[in-house]
């Protein structure tokens, strides 16, 4: 299984997923955590899932029916994914030779791309 390209956005998403690795989160929640605009995260989530770094499941029907809303898709980083993500983030960090700009994503997209 390959590894996703470590764009700046991917790194922010991975950091969000690693914050509480056991916790399941839905897309909008991850966008907020990663500091990315809502609606932009899905290609990254799809790529991470394809690579086996994350897994996703539908919300328990009892929960969303009780809340009276459509069911959510939840994402969680896998054990293997967490390990590989930490290594990849460390590599990206070293390659940049400076810390990530934080959660605000204030830097232009692609600024921190490392292949």
């Amino acid at each position: 299984m390959g590894s996703p390209r470590m764009t700046l956005q991917t790194q922010l998403v991975l950091r969000a997923l690693l914050e509480e690795p056991a916790k399941q989160r839905y897309g909008l929640e991850l966008c907020a955590l990663a500091g990315l605009p809502s609606g932009t995260i899905y290609p990254i989530l799809a790529r991470l899932e394809q690579a086996g770094w994350t897994e996703s499941t539908w919300e328990d029907p009892a929960v969303h029916e009780e809340a009276g809303r459509p069911r959510r898709r939840f994402y969680r980083i896998t054990e293997d994914g967490a390990e590989r993500a930490r290594l990849a983030l460390a590599r990206a960090y070293r390659a940049r030779k400076k810390p990530l700009p934080g959660w605000a994503a204030a830097h232009p997209v692609g600024d921190g791309e490392v292949s």
């Binding site: 839905y26 605009p37 290609p43 799809a46």
Partner: protein, 248 residues
């Protein structure tokens, strides 16, 4: 009631009431971000404007205290009297459809059921005035209920102005919200056609759930636009294997 958002009401209330009202709603906010108290005051103002006496206006001020705060009902009766306490209790519990509308001219002391009805209508009227802050998916249901139940009840109770405003506010939502919400939902469904066939249902459902969590039409529109811009990328991602990382 020591809060910076108070607006003087156009009547004088019993000395026992609002100025000494405890801060039960303190810290609570409306979806708009306004302090919850602004809703209580607006409802009381509507009730006062239709000519209800001070006890009913007082009950309107307190109408959510039992339902939405930890205030014990007994305390309300002790501080504001049994009439006000009973009105507040009934506003929270009585089924609106069970109240017989009475179009008789306003009397100095309206029947209990009429007072309950007026407070419920005023509550709905202010909620409809601030409907823009409600999640887009819920606006439609609220507007339908208002136009089908509340507006006719207001008309039957002789509150023509309230009925008209309820009707107009609901009609505006029903004319625009379904279009806005339906267009957004349809657009997202159309976007999934760019994705591999086996993946379409999953993403359509996922985006619909995200859309339902967004609070305003504007945030829904921004979300849809960003999904639209990122869907070609998502489509490519789903159709090709993950890029191999060079071995180090």
């Amino acid at each position: 009631m020591s809060c910076g958002h108070t607006t003087p009401l156009p009547i004088s209330l019993p000395s026992s009431s609002p100025t000494r009202r405890p801060r039960w709603h303190e810290g609570q906010t409306r979806r708009s971000g306004d302090p919850y108290l602004t809703h209580c005051l607006a409802v009381a103002r509507i009730v006062a404007d239709v000519g209800m006496p001070p006890t009913v206006v007082c009950a309107a001020l307190l109408h959510d205290v039992i339902e939405d705060t930890l205030c014990p009902p007994g305390r309300l009766a002790g501080q504001f009297g049994l009439t006000v306490a009973q009105l507040v209790a009934d506003v929270s519990t009585v089924d609106l459809r069970a109240i017989p509308p009475d179009a008789a001219p306003r009397s100095a002391q309206p029947p209990h059921s009429e007072a309950v009805l007026v407070i419920r209508l005023a509550d709905r009227l202010h909620n409809m005035r601030t409907i823009e802050f409600v999640a887009a998916a819920k606006q439609y249901g609220k507007a339908r209920e208002t136009i089908e139940v509340f507006a006719p009840m207001a008309r039957a109770a002789g509150l023509a102005d309230v009925s008209r405003e309820l009707h107009n506010l609901s009609a505006a939502v029903l004319q625009s919200a379904p279009t806005a919400y339906a267009v957004t939902t349809r657009l997202l469904a159309l976007l999934t056609l760019l994705l591999p066939g086996t993946q379409r249902a999953r993403w359509r459902q996922e985006w619909q759930a995200e859309l339902a969590a967004l609070p305003t039409r504007r945030t829904c529109a921004c979300f849809t636009l960003r999904v639209l811009l990122s869907t070609p990328h998502l489509s490519l991602t789903l159709r090709r294997p993950v890029c191999q990382e060079p071995r180090r």
